[in-house]
């Protein structure tokens, strides 16, 4: 049981970080399907730069930098250039997945995966028995993730910036009418989301593991996205949903060890996707109800800004 708990924390941390990123984007009204791509560039850049400089901090810094640039480009394409948010987001994901795999070959001359010596610090040490082993393997990012979520909550729900962000996402006209430029606020939201994705990716490659593997995010960006919807766009809700998916993953890992003889591995791996479909369905039901309440407004909405 303790083992599942510890594994849950480890599986959930990257999900929660990326889900928090998704909350920022979603609240600003952006259906951000590029999370997966940003996550994997974060994972790769941390490993690549961390390995080159020998410093995990520099690696993470570089990952954040790369993601800020990519997010700004994404904003430029979907905002001023008017591209489709979903298609461009999927494109961003492909650029991330393809670009990192390509760079793996181009820079390290390898296919598949590379190992790295850099690793995030692990604050709890020295436990060698039982579930403590996994706890002592939790990286610093796992421990500060709750802090990040809490900060996100304060910023989104208890700050003027959060009000502006929500206004932009919900009702751009309201934002414009008080002199807020929705486009700029969206850029800010995307930049924050990009940085958080970088952290999520870093946790994946140098926190939970010590390597970078092609396509190592394996749909986590999309699952984080679902956590956002499941969590009703609320930072705490999304974090809880992320934890839940982490838990499902942990059970999956456990059952792989325990019952893989009887239940094929693939079916266990399907669980998160099936849950996700249910989650989107339920989340959609919930959202629709609240949307209906706003439809009276929607009719008055100005075409688009």
């Amino acid at each position: 049981m303790e083992q599942i708990l510890a594994t849950t924390l480890r599986s959930a941390a990257p999900l929660v970080l990326v889900a928090t990123a998704g909350v920022f984007a979603f609240r600003a009204g952006i259906f951000h399907l590029g999370l997966e791509g940003l996550m994997i560039t974060g994972a790769f850049t941390t490993v690549a730069v961390g390995d080159a400089t020998g410093s995990v901090e520099l690696g993470i810094l570089a990952a954040v930098g790369v993601n800020l640039v990519l997010s700004a480009l994404y904003w430029w394409v979907i905002g001023p250039l008017g591209a489709n948010v979903i298609i461009a987001g999927l494109g961003l994901t492909s650029i991330g997945l393809g670009g990192t795999a390509f760079a793996l070959g181009a820079i390290f001359d390898k296919r598949g995966s590379i190992f790295t010596d850099v690793v995030l610090p692990r604050p709890v040490r020295g436990i060698t028995s039982g579930a403590g082993v996994i706890v002592s393997e939790l990286s610093i990012l796992v421990w500060i993730t709750p802090l990040i979520v809490l900060t996100a909550w304060v910023v989104l729900r208890r700050s003027r910036f959060g009000l502006r962000l929500a206004a932009v996402g919900e009702y751009p006209f309201a934002a414009r009418s008080v002199g807020v430029n929705p486009s700029i606020v969206r850029l800010q939201a995307l930049l924050i989301a990009g940085a958080l994705c970088a952290l999520g990716g870093a946790e994946l490659s140098v926190g939970a593991l010590r390597n970078f593997t092609e396509n190592m995010t394996n749909g986590r960006g999309f699952i984080a996205f679902v956590a956002v919807i499941f969590g009703a766009w609320h930072p705490i809700g999304a974090a809880l949903a992320g934890l839940f998916f982490g838990f499902a993953d942990a059970i999956g890992i456990q059952s792989q060890i325990n019952i893989t003889e009887r239940v094929p591995r693939e079916f266990v791996l399907m669980i998160p996707f099936v849950i996700t479909i249910f989650a989107v369905w339920l989340g959609g039901l919930w959202r629709r109800r609240s949307l209906e309440a706003e439809a009276g407004y929607a009719e008055l909405r100005e075409p688009d800004y």
């Binding site: 008017g82 492909s94 393809g98 749909g219 094929p264 693939e266 039901l285």
Partner: protein, 347 residues
């Protein structure tokens, strides 16, 4: 008509820009861009068997891409073509392996129908959730796609695994040669006629039937369509079903054509590439045919490239991503710059 000409022109420009950007990245990574491009031309057109190979890769892209076009026409993003393709192939395989002794034409027919049915079912679930509950179809089709990939993985590694198979990735048993409609090149008159016929039928349905027109209206403005008495749900479900059926058919063609057996995670990018193909084809049937051949050529070239240079294959994924990232840019938005927005009506 200048409007559509403009759209074609802007799409061509954006695809070229994506190619140039990718070339820039290759160049910056130290690859000989000139060699790569001449390699692409060789691998797609001039080398022996290259044009056949281009067509071979264009066929699944075209079929799945047409499905995407149908979905988009009715206003839906079916981005789960990959899973529908896999599940279609799996069902065709199950029929063929389960009825090895059957008469070839009948088995192929049953297998193809099974594939179409499976693809339809795979997209009808998200479709039903969408039209009934308003559940966002982007995510559900994507999840169904992941599940489809796992089903394929399970079948090829488990019940249908070829026990004598070596190699790293699991593969299924081969279907009897008599069931195949092409040789290993994947192109034959039968397949060309079949795919061409499907394309024509889809075109007729979309452009020359009242159903196709209702689909267009539903896709553009479901509220208006509903006020006009069009059954928006029925039209939406039909669009989803047809979209999945086309992807399922692509799976059957893949199996009875070049594949003959299924390998875990085969053609992993074809679903997403088909979305790009449909977009580059401006969501029209004719455009999708052209775009499918273009991207089929790129796919064929990437397999040929190792002969000329050591470019890693993910470069192609990068290129596809680049095209998707840019292809929906509206040139009007670029040209309009500042100035009052025409949409904000004068008061």
């Amino acid at each position: 008509m200048t409007g559509s000409l403009q759209r074609v022109a802007s799409t061509v420009v954006l695809v070229v820009v994506s190619l140039l950007l990718t070339a820039l990245i290759l160049w910056a990574s130290g690859y000989p861009v000139g060699d790569v491009f001449s390699g692409i031309i060789q691998g797609a057109v001039t080398a022996t068997g290259a044009s056949t190979s281009t067509i071979r890769w264009a066929i699944p892209l075209l079929l799945i891409g047409l499905g995407v076009v149908v979905g988009f026409r009715a206003g839906f993003f079916n981005i789960g073509g990959q899973g529908q393709f896999y599940i279609g192939a799996c069902c065709a395989l199950a029929v063929s392996l389960g009825w090895r002794e059957g008469p070839a034409p009948l088995v192929i027919l049953c297998g193809t129908l099974a594939a179409i049915g499976a693809g339809t079912a795979w997209s009808l679930l998200p479709g039903y959730l969408r039209v009934r509950f308003g559940t966002d179809e982007v995510l559900t089709t994507l999840m169904m796609s992941f599940i489809g990939a796992l089903v394929l993985q399970y079948l090829t590694a488990g019940p249908m695994r070829n026990p004598s198979g070596t190699g790293q990735t699991a593969a299924s048993e081969r279907i009897p040669d008599s069931f195949r409609i092409t040789d290993s090149s994947g192109v034959s008159a039968t397949v060309l006629v079949l795919v061409g016929g499907v394309a024509v039928l889809v075109w007729l349905l979309l452009e020359r039937t009242r159903f196709g027109l209702s689909m267009t209206l539903v896709g553009r403005n479901p509220t208006m369509a509903r006020w006009q008495g069009i059954d928006v749900r029925r039209v939406g479900l039909a669009a989803f079903a047809l979209s999945g059926a086309l992807a399922g058919l692509a799976g059957a063609v893949e199996l009875y054509g070049p594949g003959a057996r299924l390998v875990t995670g085969f053609s992993p990018e074809v679903g997403f590439t088909a979305v790009v193909v449909a977009l580059v084809g401006l969501l029209t049937v004719g455009g999708t045919v052209v775009a499918a051949i273009l991207f089929g050529g790129l796919q064929s070239a990437i397999l040929f490239l190792p002969i000329v240079t050591d470019l890693p294959p993910p470069a192609l994924v990068l290129l596809h991503g680049m095209v998707a990232f840019l292809v929906t840019i509206k040139f009007k938005a670029v040209w309009r710059r500042t100035g009052p927005e025409a949409k904000a009506a004068a008061g």
